[in-house]
Amino acid sequence: MKSNPVALLGLTVLAGFLAVAPARPQDAPARTEAAPANCEVPAYLLTTESTLPKVEHAVKSGLPLDILVVGSRSSTISTLEASAYPGRLQAVLKQMLPKVAVNVSVELQIKKTAEEVATGLVKLVEVKKPTLVIWQTGTYDAMRSIDPEDFRGAVGEGVVALKEAGADVVLMNLQYSPRTETMITAPPYLDSMRVVAQQYDTPLFDRFAIMHHWNDSGDFDLFSPTRGLDLARRVHDCIGRALAKFVIEAARVDPAQQN
C-alpha cells in the first residue's frame, strides 16, 4: 500500500471530476524488450485438484504434446501473434520439458458465444487430435449478456464433448479489465465457469483472479490507457508462464525428473 500524493486531492477531485484534466502521464514511452516482468502468482491460483491424465501420459512416455488453444480475441495480440500467451506457453513448456515435443496451435473463434463455439469443438479436435485443449471463453458471452444458465450449459456440453473426443481440457476465464468493469458484468460468467470446472472435474485457469492480483500488487497497471503494445506483450508473457506452470501442476508432472 503506497500512499499517493494525488490522494489528498481526491476529495476535491471527486466533486468536480469532469472539470479536471487527466493528470496522469500519457502513454509512457514503450520500453525496449525488458527482462520478464515481476509477475508472481500466489500458489493457490496455480493449484488444482483436477488432473490432466492424457498430458501426464504423453509427458511421461515421451510422446509429442499437442496443445490446442481455442479462444477469442483476448487470446491474441493483433499484429503480434507470436508474443501472445499461446506462443509464450509453447516456449516456456519447451524450456521446462526439453525432452518433449511441445506444439501449441491456436484456433480463434472471434465474436462467438460459448454455445456457438461448443458445437464446432468436436470437429476441431477430430482434425487436430490434440492432447490438451485450452478453452478460453466467457468474454463475448458477458459482453452480450447471454443468460448465465445457457452459458453454463454450453460450456458444460463443450467440455464433455472434448473429453469424449479424447482430449484433456483446461478452461480459461475472462481477463480482468478494470476499465470496462462498469460495462461488462463478469461475475456470473466467472461463477458459471467455476461451477462447470467443478462439475466435470476440469482444471480452471483463473486468468481473471491472476490479472486482478497483478493489478492489486502493482505488477501491472491494467487501468493504463496506453495504445502501445508493450503492456499487452508483458501481460501475455506472464500469462503464458503461469499457464505453463498450471498445466504442469495439473498434469502432476515433475519437470526436474524430465531433465
Binding site: 499517493n4 490522494a7 493528470a23 465474436k111 468474454t139 447471454i146 478494470p178 462498469t182 461451477v195 497497471d221
Partner: protein, 419 residues
C-alpha cells in the same frame, strides 16, 4: 418541487414489541395501519446503510468492501433495499388508498413512478458521457476484445430509444428499472392486499415459483435479460408490503420464539462458512462436493431461495437485537445514515453517479492505487451524507412555508417507497 422524502411512521420491521405499543385507529378487517406519530428510524437506518453498501459494492474492491454484507452471506444490500422500499411504499400508499380511494392513490403512485423514471434517464445520460469519454481515449490493445462493448455508441439512435424503454441498462443501473416495474404494480398489490393480504402474498409466491419453473424473464437490449428479474424480485417487494400492512404483527409470535432465532443463527452461520470458502480458495477442499452441486449457482438475477432465506434470517435476527426504542437511533453518529435513508431516491441516484465518478477518478487520476480506492469510497459516503443533510435542510427550512400551505396530505403523496 417538494422533496421526495418519505414520511414513514408506524410499525417497524416485523417486531412483536411494537405490536403492543402501536396504536391502531383505522381498524379494517384485513389491513390495519397503525398511525404512530413517531417516525420508524430503524427503516431509515437500514435503508441508508443499504444505500452506502450499494455504493461501495459498485466501486472496485477496497478495504471498505470487507464491511459489506455480501462477503459474509448470500444476500446483499439490494435485498434490504427492495424489502424496505416495498414496506414503506405499501405503508404510505396503503394509507392513501384507505383515506382517498383507489384512483387517488394510483395517481400518486404513478407520479412517483414518473419521478423514478426521470431519475433513471438522468443517470443514463451521465453514464453515456462517461462511456463516450472512455471510448474516445482508451485504446489498450490488451483489451481490444472488451472494448467491443462500446460498439453500441455507433448506433446512438437505437441505444437511446432502448434506454428510454428500459431495455438497455448498463451495469449498475439495474435497480431503478426494477423499482419502476414493481411500483407500477403497487396499486394492484395494495388493492389485492386490502381484499386478502395472505392470498396476495401466496399469489406472489406462486409467481415466484412459476418464474423458476418456466424461466420467465424480461429481455434486454441488445440481447440478454434484465439482471434483476422482476418476476422473482417482486416476492421481496410484496413481502415488504405484506409486513407493512399488518403481516409483521401477525408474525410476531413466530419471530419471538427462540427456535426461530436458533434456526436463523444457524443458517446465517452456514452461509458465512460457505462464503468464506469463496474468499479463501485454500479452504475450498472443506466443502462437500454434493452440497456444492446442489447449491450452486446462487443466482442474484432470479433471487435464489437461499438468498431470500438469508435475508429473512438476517431481518429476524436484526429486529430481535435492535429494539425500536434503542437510544442509539437518536445518536448523532447514526444521523448521517438515517438522513440518507430518509431521502433514498436522491441518495440512491447520487450513489450511482458517485460510483461512475469514482471509477473515473481511479482510472484517470489515481491509477487504481489501494489507498486511493479507500479515499474515493470514504469521500463518496461523505458526499452522500452531506447531500442528504442539504435535502433535509431544504425540506425543513427552505420549503417550510410551502409545505405548511399544502397540508399534510399533499406531503404524503411525495412519500413512500423512495427507491
Amino acid at each position: 418541487m417538494t422533496s421526495i422524502a418519505d414520511r414513514v411512521a408506524g410499525p417497524p420491521l416485523a417486531d412483536e414489541a411494537d405490536a403492543r405499543a402501536a396504536a391502531v385507529p383505522v381498524a379494517l378487517p384485513v389491513i390495519t395501519l397503525p398511525a404512530g406519530a413517531e417516525r420508524e428510524l430503524r427503516l431509515d437506518l437500514f435503508r441508508g446503510l443499504a444505500l452506502w453498501l450499494i455504493f461501495i459494492d459498485h466501486l472496485p474492491n477496497n478495504i471498505l468492501t470487507w464491511f459489506t454484507f455480501r462477503n459474509y452471506g448470500f444476500s446483499d444490500a439490494t435485498e434490504i433495499f427492495i424489502f424496505i422500499s416495498g414496506y414503506t411504499a405499501a405503508f404510505v400508499y396503503g394509507r392513501a388508498m384507505l383515506e382517498a380511494g383507489f384512483v387517488i392513490a394510483t395517481a400518486r403512485i404513478l407520479r412517483r413512478v414518473w419521478q423514478i423514471y426521470v431519475a433513471h434517464v438522468f443517470l443514463f445520460t451521465i453514464f453515456l458521457a462517461e462511456i463516450s469519454y472512455v471510448a474516445a481515449r482508451f485504446d489498450n490493445p490488451l483489451y481490444a476484445e472488451e472494448m467491443g462493448i462500446m460498439d453500441f455508441l455507433k448506433q446512438p439512435d437505437v441505444t437511446i430509444i432502448q434506454a428510454l424503454l428500459l431495455r438497455f441498462r448498463p451495469a449498475n443501473m439495474d435497480v431503478l428499472p426494477l423499482y419502476i416495474v414493481l411500483m407500477l404494480f403497487l396499486p394492484l398489490i395494495i388493492w389485492l392486499m386490502k381484499w386478502r393480504a395472505d392470498v396476495t402474498l401466496a399469489l406472489s409466491v406462486v409467481l415466484y415459483a412459476l418464474t423458476w419453473q418456466f424461466d420467465l424473464y424480461l429481455s434486454a437490449y441488445p440481447n440478454g435479460f434484465w439482471a434483476f428479474n422482476p418476476f422473482a424480485w417482486q416476492l421481496l417487494f410484496v413481502f415488504g408490503a405484506w409486513c407493512a400492512l399488518g403481516g409483521a404483527r401477525r408474525m410476531s409470535r413466530i419471530l419471538s420464539s427462540p427456535v426461530t432465532m436458533w434456526i436463523c443463527v444457524a443458517y446465517l452461520f452456514f452461509a458465512f462458512c460457505v462464503t468464506l470458502t469463496w474468499h479463501l480458495p485454500q479452504l475450498k477442499f472443506l466443502m462437500p462436493k454434493l452440497i456444492e452441486q446442489w447449491m450452486y449457482p446462487i443466482t442474484k438475477t432470479d433471487m435464489d431461495v437461499l438468498r431470500f432465506a438469508h435475508f429473512l434470517a438476517l431481518a429476524a435476527v436484526t429486529v430481535r437485537l435492535l429494539p425500536k426504542d434503542w437510544p442509539g437511533l437518536k445518536s448523532p453518529w447514526l444521523r448521517p445514515v438515517i438522513l440518507c435513508g430518509q431521502h433514498s431516491l436522491e441518495i440512491f441516484c447520487l450513489g450511482v453517479f458517485l460510483a461512475f465518478a469514482g471509477h473515473f477518478v481511479l482510472a484517470e487520476i489515481a491509477g487504481g492505487g489501494v489507498a486511493m480506492h479507500l479515499v474515493v469510497s470514504v469521500a463518496g459516503i461523505l458526499i452522500m451524507s452531506g447531500m442528504a443533510w442539504i435535502i433535509s435542510w431544504y425540506k425543513h427550512s427552505a420549503d417550510k412555508s410551502a409545505t405548511r400551505k399544502k397540508g399534510t396530505v399533499g406531503n404524503a403523496d411525495m412519500a413512500g417507497g423512495g427507491s
